[in-house]
């Protein structure tokens, strides 16, 4: 398994290179540059700006320069946030995104799996209908609707929590965004868990276990849960990426200084280095998470061996 993991990690290098190259070309092909602003700068000033950021060099030279600094762990200087390097920007935003996205993910796995199990065991009962209702609501209402409702309720009417902002991991500022992301994730995880467990519970080996007279708890936790978790694990990878690196709407609604905000501002301001830096980060993240998912498969399903 370790050699498999190593191979997968090594595979990241060509993947990253491809992603960077494609993204690099796409960014530079997009009309409008980092210095196109409402107040057009004179040709001479534009030349000053381009020289400062090496944009006056041929594209391939810029590309090689970028790769070189990337190898040294330097993601370059930001265009949009002129006083900061991309490393500093990502360094500041990543902990916020990890706290909000990671916190929400953990919570939603626990709550989603639990609700899914309960709903599956009490299929077509009131509890099941309730879980399905929550699941459908979470999927049907976008976060830009639920978020403001949470703010209205808890920040403006009840005045118990702040309406937004960030204050050095002060839990009060984290409650609502985590609640919002959790609610949305739970709806996915809960529905997947319920469906998958129902399917597993109807399979032959569970019928055998029942026939042997095993108690329900043993059947569910020892025999059914592991195979039923497979689809949940499959959705966890994408969920984690979207919760941590691209919770754009949540960050906007709650004014959080996370990665999503950087991505949007970077892209709309043609901040080439910032966007590329974030793309590198997201790619590495995606590769790691997918690897973890694959390793989890091996743990959950004895048929899978690497």
């Amino acid at each position: 398994m370790w050699s498999y993991a190593l191979r997968r990690v090594l595979m990241t290098i060509p993947t990253l290179l491809l992603v960077i190259t494609v993204c690099y070309l796409m960014l530079h092909a997009t009309p409008g540059g980092p210095f196109d602003t409402e107040r057009k700068v004179s040709a001479a000033v534009m030349a000053n700006l381009q020289a400062k950021y090496h944009l006056d060099l041929p594209l391939w030279q810029q590309y090689l320069l970028y790769l070189k600094s990337l190898l040294q762990g330097d993601l370059g200087a930001s265009f949009r946030y002129a006083d900061w390097s991309v490393n500093e920007l990502v360094g500041n935003a990543l902990p916020v995104s990890l706290a909000i996205g990671g916190g929400a993910l953990l919570l939603s796995v626990v709550i989603g799996v639990a609700l899914g199990i309960i709903a599956a065991l009490r299929q077509n009962s009131l509890i099941d209908y309730f879980v399905m209702l929550v699941g459908n609501l979470g999927s049907a209402f976008p976060s830009f609707v639920i978020g403001p409702v949470l703010i209205l309720l808890f920040a403006i009417w009840l005045s118990v929590l702040p309406a937004g902002g960030w204050n050095d991991f002060d839990p009060r500022y984290m409650v609502l965004p985590i609640a919002l992301l959790t609610f949305i994730n739970v709806s996915t995880i809960g529905r997947v868990m319920r469906g998958s467990l129902i399917e597993v519970l109807n399979s032959n080996f569970i019928r055998t276990a029942r026939a042997k007279g095993l108690p329900l708890r043993t059947i569910v936790f020892r025999h059914a849960l592991k195979p039923a978790l497979m689809p949940v694990v499959s959705v966890l990878g994408p969920l984690a990426i979207s919760s941590i690196t691209s919770a754009v709407v949540t960050e906007s609604v709650f004014s959080l200084p996370g990665l999503g905000k950087l991505i949007i501002n970077g892209a709309s301001n043609r901040d080439y280095t910032l966007v590329l830096g974030l793309v590198v980060l997201v790619t590495v993240f995606a590769v790691i998470l997918n690897l973890l998912v694959d390793l989890a498969y091996a743990y959950l399903d004895p048929k899978i061996r690497y």
């Binding site: 997009t30 009309p31 409008g32 540059g33 210095f35 196109d36 602003t37 409402e38 107040r39 057009k40 700068v41 004179s42 001479a44 000033v45 030349a47 000053n48 700006l49 020289a51 400062k52 949009r80 946030y81 002129a82 006083d83 900061w84 920007l89 500041n92 935003a93 403001p148 703010i151 209205l152 920040a155 403006i156 005045s159 702040p162 309406a163 937004g164 902002g165 960030w166 906007s252 609604v253 709650f254 004014s255 959080l256 200084p257 996370g258 905000k261 950087l262 501002n265 709309s268 301001n269 043609r270």
Partner: protein, 539 residues
């Protein structure tokens, strides 16, 4: 308008070289106003500052911060009046030479004196091509050899700024610039701390490293979260500064901004989201603030386009848009109809208008139809309108398209795109009719005239009226402010009679500011509020 008069009288007095005495001007708390024990404010700044380096700061938000952290030769107060900053007085020695006398008690936050050399260093650094400031030629144009230095054609040491002694600064302009005292209130032309910049390089603007000379110092800066400033104990006028802590937020989402205001975490909404002004005016009458500012919403007409190069078409398109309905029913946020490239409150030229602006709409439409027919544009013809994706711009665009359709029978193709793409198309002349807007960099007609002058960087219409150009040149050389104003007004009228653009509305700033924030006025045409001029009333 009273506001216009007071500002122009002041500008005139400055231009006549009368100078201003160095009395304290800040935070004029009216007698009997009870102040709150806690003098702290949270201001939303609209977006994250791109830089706190005065030479690099470009956006309104970044300049708001720079204005609190640094002080130039002069400053503008909460009514937009030029007041002394580090300079306690100034004199126009001859038409192109100004002498600024610096106060001896102006200090950097590390306790050292602010000297004329700090200004020389700051201005040269700002214009240095290596600094690559986007404002380099905008303000460089007012300094002798400023543009040449910014373009690398002359060394920065040739720029017309000289320390006559430790506390006397001389500035030379390439032509008479009557409003120079206002121009030098901008941070770009202010002092910067050479020692800190030499020591920390690019990181000199970070908390702990920054040395500044304004009413406030930098305490904390979390990107996309907040910038916290504290009162500067070394500031020369520090006894007149009431606020002890100023927190700037970078919230872009207008609805999030309002929610934080309603929940009490924010005292100052940067700008109300479109379509909410009337609602909050009714719900929060004490907190709502709205005043016109020096900004123009307009549609550019690309003169390189075969259809738009005909003045009759441009005039017809102009005539049939009902600005009153646009202002009261479509945007409905207190904006004022505009018929000129220059908006009300601007110094240096009168606002021009068109005769037809007072005609009944039926007469305007009849005339416009005649013009189109003469130009050979038949009903059913197509025009293309480009705008950047935004609900607000879309609403206005649909209104304009419907005016052109119902009144002239023209079909408008609406094309929306990302802002950067629109900018590129506009700058490259790759459009027919394009959404555009402009906010004054300084209070003088020339800032708006750059939009319609021959060969100007800001002229996306690509129009040119050589006669008007000659008048502007003549005006800029005139030493008599009244004569200058008359020439610039005449030039504006000439240009606007060519219909280079479709002026629509004068910007306003509809926002919520807590009623307990003192010092906020609605008489600030540049919408520049130093936190120095604000205070918290007991509530």
């Amino acid at each position: 308008m009273k506001k216009t008069m007071t500002i122009s009288v002041l500008a005139a007095s400055v231009a006549l070289g009368l100078g201003v005495s160095g009395a304290a001007f800040a935070a004029k708390v009216p007698a009997g106003t009870p102040l709150a024990a806690k003098q702290e404010i949270v201001r939303n700044n609209g977006s994250e500052a791109e830089s706190l380096d005065p030479a690099i700061a470009e956006s309104v938000g970044a300049n708001n911060l720079v204005r609190d952290l640094f002080e130039g030769l002069t400053a503008t107060d909460n009514e937009g009046k030029v007041v002394p900053g580090v300079a306690e007085s100034w004199k126009q020695k001859d038409p192109t030479t100004w002498v600024f006398t610096l106060r001896k008690n102006a200090k950097w936050s590390d306790g050292s004196s602010v000297t004329a050399d700090d200004f020389v260093y700051g201005i040269r650094r700002f214009l240095d091509p290596k600094t690559a400031s986007t404002y380099a030629t905008t303000y460089g144009t007012f300094l002798l050899n400023g543009v040449e230095a910014a373009e690398g054609k002359k060394p920065v040491s040739d720029v017309g700024v000289k320390a006559l002694d430790k506390f006397t600064l001389e500035i030379k302009t390439p032509y008479p610039v009557a409003f120079l005292p206002e121009v030098v209130s901008n941070g770009q032309l202010g002092p910067v701390p050479k020692a800190a910049i030499d020591k920390f390089g690019k990181d000199w603007v970070k908390p702990g490293n920054m040395v500044s000379n304004g009413a406030f110092v930098l305490k904390e800066w979390q990107v996309n979260s907040k910038v916290v400033l504290a009162k500067n104990p070394q500031y020369w006028d520090n006894k007149n500064v009431q606020l002890t802590r100023v927190t700037y937020l970078p919230i872009e989402d207008g609805f999030a901004d309002v929610k934080m205001f309603l929940s009490g975490e924010n005292d100052w909404v940067y700008q109300l989201p479109p379509g909410t002004y009337e609602k909050y005016k009714a719900e929060l009458p004490k907190d709502i603030r709205n005043a016109p500012m020096l900004g123009l919403r307009y549609y550019g007409l690309n003169h390189k386009d075969p259809v738009m190069k005909d003045v009759r078409v441009r005039k017809a398109l102009n005539m049939v848009i009902d600005r009153d309905i646009l202002a009261t029913k479509i945007t409905a946020d207190g904006q004022v109809p505009a018929y000129s490239a220059i908006v009300r409150g601007t110094n240096g030229a009168d606002v021009t208008s068109y005769d037809w602006a007072k005609w009944p709409m039926a007469q305007r439409v009849a005339e416009a139809k005649k013009l189109l027919a003469a130009a050979g544009v038949k009903p059913g013809s197509k025009v293309k309108f480009s705008y950047n994706t935004s609900e607000y711009h879309k609403k206005m665009a649909i209104f304009a398209a419907s005016e052109w359709k119902t009144k002239l029978g023209l079909n408008t193709e609406l094309e929306n795109m990302e802002f950067k793409v629109l900018l590129k198309k506009r700058h490259d002349g790759d459009y027919q009719i394009g959404r555009n807007g402009w906010v004054a960099d300084y209070n003088d007609a020339t800032t708006f005239l750059t939009l319609v002058q021959c060969g100007s960087e800001q002229n996306d219409n690509f129009n040119c009226n050589p006669k008007a150009e000659a008048l502007i040149k003549q005006g800029n050389l005139a030493q008599n402010p009244a004569q200058r104003k008359q020439l610039l007004t005449q030039a504006t009228k000439l240009i606007m009679d060519d219909y280079p653009m479709i002026p629509l509305l004068q910007y306003t700033v509809p926002r919520l500011v807590k009623s307990y924030v003192g010092g906020y006025t609605t008489k600030n045409p540049m919408d520049r509020y130093r936190s120095k001029d604000l205070y918290i009333i007991k509530h």
